[in-house]
């Protein structure tokens, strides 16, 4: 049906349209300004009773690790009358950005990377630490660690757990069978690789880069370990800051060294397939062929130990992680024997409000009490860089050795380079490692990651 309009009406309807446009424009102005003034929130009762309060914590750890975290604070929370609600999210790194944008914030978030933390601090939504928590952080953590949570001279978060990266996992029994010993230099490690290849006729190494949105980080870690070991801490720091470029020969040589194992079809990917299957293997899944004996060597942080709890050896038992057990690990050797530089990781708790209960929880998380309670959780896979940690309480031999490394004043400790870089670069770094495994040339990958650095 057609509507026939007379002149008068159409004149009137044009008027209506004009008004409508005007109204829409007005409302948009209103909306825009409302957004910019934004914020507010429910505010906080900074003082007062915390009994019966609920504190929400949002973090990247799920599954067993989440259970261990919950166990570490449950007794304290019960005693204080505070309910702590922990939500774990495997895609934390991606989702926290959206949450901050949308102002749908938890009370406390556990950031797995200092780079991400400092980006969050720059949004202005992270609250500065209260004085008691700040005092704890200053007392319990080394200046290296304090540096990761400081922005503009102010403390914004407390370090929680820590991990030491760059452990080479192997089977002591198989080493004995092949008549080989733990290498002390990187060249010896390559020699060992070729020996195992000759003895077994199978690829010795296995690796997994798959980790959802964060796929590629295990590769970034391994590259960082080689940069720190070969080029030294000063180049490493400059690299993290962006003054040493990704296209620098020092970074290129680390890529080449890593490629000697990971890009060699003779040496990877034991138990999974060819070189490219590294990208489709989940990072924790390397525990399966390692336990069953199909894979001889893999490079992963201390937290890989947690993955062994759910896999079986060839004999059908749960592998025992010990120097004389089924699985053990040695720190990846440097160019010369006796290196003391390690790359590590860790989580940081930052608060998004100043509620009394939130601050109370932050104070607890920054204390030596919590760190000791964390390692006391049965079969815990966590350690901490907290100086108040009683290393003798650690039941697990591997974690005890890692704590020793963390607490040794001679250790040069550096955070994983990818984690310490700005989030945009980190994302490009991870993608670059995946592309590299897929066969993209080293120089193209270097240029591609370098291009992600924000200008200026």
């Amino acid at each position: 049906m057609r509507v026939h309009t007379n002149g008068g009406r159409s004149f009137g309807s044009r008027r209506v349209r004009q008004v409508a446009v005007l109204a829409v424009a007005a409302a948009s102005v209103v909306g825009l300004s409302a957004c910019s003034s934004g914020g507010g929130g429910s505010g906080g009762n900074a003082s007062g009773n915390v009994k019966g309060a609920t504190v929400t914590i949002y973090g990247p750890d799920t599954g067993t690790e989440a259970t261990e975290l919950e166990a570490s604070w449950s007794a304290w929370a019960k005693q204080q009358g505070i309910t702590i609600q922990y939500t774990g999210d495997k895609n934390f790194t991606a989702n926290i950005a959206t949450k901050i944008q949308a102002n749908s914030l938890p009370d406390i978030a556990m950031f797995p990377q200092p780079g991400l933390l400092s980006a969050a601090v720059q949004t202005g939504k992270v609250k500065q630490l209260d004085s008691a928590t700040a005092a704890n952080v200053k007392k319990n953590f080394s200046t290296d660690w304090q540096g990761y949570v400081t922005s503009g001279g102010k403390l914004y978060a407390t370090p929680l757990d820590a991990s030491v990266k760059g452990y080479i996992w192997y089977s002591p029994a198989d080493f004995k069978k092949w008549g080989v010993s733990v290498p002390t230099t990187y060249d010896e490690l390559l020699q060992l690789t070729s020996t195992i290849r000759q003895k077994t006729g199978q690829p010795p190494w296995c690796a997994g880069f798959n980790s959802g949105d964060a796929s590629g980080w295990p590769g970034a870690d391994q590259l960082a370990e080689l940069v720190l070991a070969d080029a030294g801490p000063s180049v490493y720091d400059a690299w993290v800051k962006g003054t040493t470029k990704f296209t620098d020969p020092a970074i290129g040589s680390a890529f080449d060294t890593l490629g000697k194992t990971l890009l060699n079809p003779q040496y990877v990917n034991a138990g999974f397939g060819d070189v490219k299957s590294i990208n489709s293997t989940a990072f924790g899944d390397v525990a399966t062929p390692l336990a069953s004996g199909k894979c001889a060597l893999t490079n992963q942080a201390t937290f890989l130990e947690a993955s062994f709890a759910t896999v079986k050896t060839a004999a059908g038992t749960t592998p025992k992680v010990a120097p004389d057990g089924d699985i053990w690990a040695f720190p990846q050797p440097g160019p010369t024997a006796g290196k003391n530089a390690v790359v590590g990781g860790g989580d940081f708790a930052a608060a998004f409000n100043t509620n009394a209960a939130t601050q109370k929880v932050m104070q607890y998380l920054s204390s030596a009490d919590w760190a000791n309670s964390l390692i006391a959780v049965p079969n815990a896979s966590f350690i901490s860089a907290n100086k108040g940690l009683d290393a003798t309480k650690e039941q697990d031999q591997l974690l005890a050795s890692a704590i020793k490394i963390l607490q040794d004043p001679a250790t040069v400790f550096r955070f994983g380079a990818d984690d310490a870089m700005p989030n945009v670069v980190e994302t490009a770094f991870w993608t670059g490692m995946v592309d590299w495994i897929n066969g993209k040339s080293t120089s193209a990958v270097q240029a591609q990651i370098q291009a992600a650095w924000p200008a200026g």
Binding site: A27, L32, S37, F272, S277, N279
Partner: protein
């Protein structure tokens, strides 16, 4: 507004009930006032309308909590209100008519503005602003999208390929299937098989296909690679090699959309008059000629609708990429990259908005064509 709600939330529950009822009552009285009282003729009512026309924008501005510059708030309110009053006063249908119209429209208008107009305008503005939203950068974000090596360019090219391949294949396969099973024995059962994937969400379908395409070989859990091995081939990394991975992901979309195409086209085919087909048969045409010259022209509008709908689905695809490759190995598309850019901290809001605007620009011709198609159909 938020201050009012916070204050309300702080009160005991029993006190909240009467306050909410009173607040609701006030709003209702205002609406009735607009519709019923304000349009009455007379000088007194005209003055009242002037107060209302200026007062409402003022109150709205204040409620939305704009503290910055009371002076500007007054100016805006006076200009808007004055303009509204003047237009209302000169309205053909008598003064008071426009105010009444606005009172009726306001609830729907408000929701549309909050949910549709404001985000669209904001996105449009952001597309020309820096990633942190502080200053205008002109076309820099679009330069980023179209500069070599950026993920934006890859996403753009991939999206174009998606929009070309997916709708054609899904519509084509759906049409052929509809024709072949039409009036055959077991038509219903055969249709259900093809239609079932429509009931599966894109994420669910993607996860099914992710296992189907899996590249882990020891043990072999990828069905497709197992088939390749049975035929003596070496396993293929389906999702890791560009452009093979894109083709594989497009297959997922085709799989889920073919059923939709088939059902619509099948009912359209049943609507083609039998006389026409029989007449063509008497004229000595073969099956192909009947299909191409009688059936297809008869269902042309439906084919266009189906094709456009699937095109729009493939333009805004996000779930398939997110659930399978995560955009890696150049498999990203505009919809996914838009979200991805926003998920970096600090969010690359400029890049994200530029990608969103590109999707909008690409969708527009389809919507325009669809609207024209509908209009022509109505005129016929």
């Amino acid at each position: 507004m938020s201050a009012f709600f916070s204050w309300l939330a702080g009160l005991p529950p029993l006190a909240q009930i009467p306050i909410v009822i009173v607040a609701f009552g006030i709003v209702m009285v205002l609406v009735v006032f607009f519709i019923e009282v304000a349009p009455r003729p007379g000088r007194g009512y005209s003055i009242m309308r002037l107060c209302v026309a200026i007062g409402v924008p003022l109150v709205v501005l204040l409620i939305l909590g704009i503290q910055a510059g009371a002076f500007w708030v007054l100016i805006i309110a006076a200009v808007l209100g004055g303009g509204l009053f003047w237009l209302d006063f000169r309205a053909r249908s008598g003064s008071g008519y426009l105010l009444q119209l606005f009172a009726f429209l306001s609830p729907a208008l408000l929701l549309l503005i909050i949910g549709l107009v404001y985000p669209a305008v904001q996105t449009f503005v952001n597309a020309f602003r820096s990633n942190d939203g502080t200053h205008f950068v002109g076309l820099d974000n679009f330069v980023w999208v179209f500069s070599g090596g950026s993920t934006g360019l890859i996403a753009f090219i991939n999206t174009i390929v998606w929009v070309i391949i997916a709708p054609v294949c899904a519509t084509g396969i759906g049409l052929l299937y509809a024709v072949f099973v039409d009036r055959s024995r077991g038509e219903k059962v055969l249709k259900v098989f093809i239609f079932m994937p429509v009931a599966i969400s894109l994420v669910g379908a993607s996860i099914i296909f992710k296992f189907f395409f899996d590249y882990t070989q020891d043990p072999q859990i990828g069905l497709l690679n197992q088939v390749v091995e049975w035929f003596g081939g070496t396993p293929v990394a389906w999702l890791q090699n560009y452009p093979l991975n894109m083709v594989m992901l497009i297959i997922i979309l085709i799989w889920t959309q073919t059923g939709f195409a088939m059902v619509l086209l099948s009912s359209a085919i049943k609507g083609v008059p039998t006389e026409q087909v029989e007449a063509a048969e008497l004229d000595g045409t073969n099956a192909w000629q009947r299909f191409w010259n009688v059936t297809v022209p008869g269902i042309r509008p439906t084919i266009i609708v189906v094709w456009i709908t699937i095109s729009i689905v493939s333009l805004k695809v996000y779930d398939i990429i997110a659930a399978t490759t995560g955009g890696q190995n150049d498999s990203t598309v505009l919809g996914y990259e838009m979200v991805k850019q926003f998920e970096i901290l600090p969010p690359q809001a400029g890049h994200s908005a530029a990608l969103a605007l590109l999707i909008f620009i690409l969708v527009t011709p389809f919507i325009w064509y669809n609207a024209r198609n509908l209009k022509r159909q109505r005129e016929e």
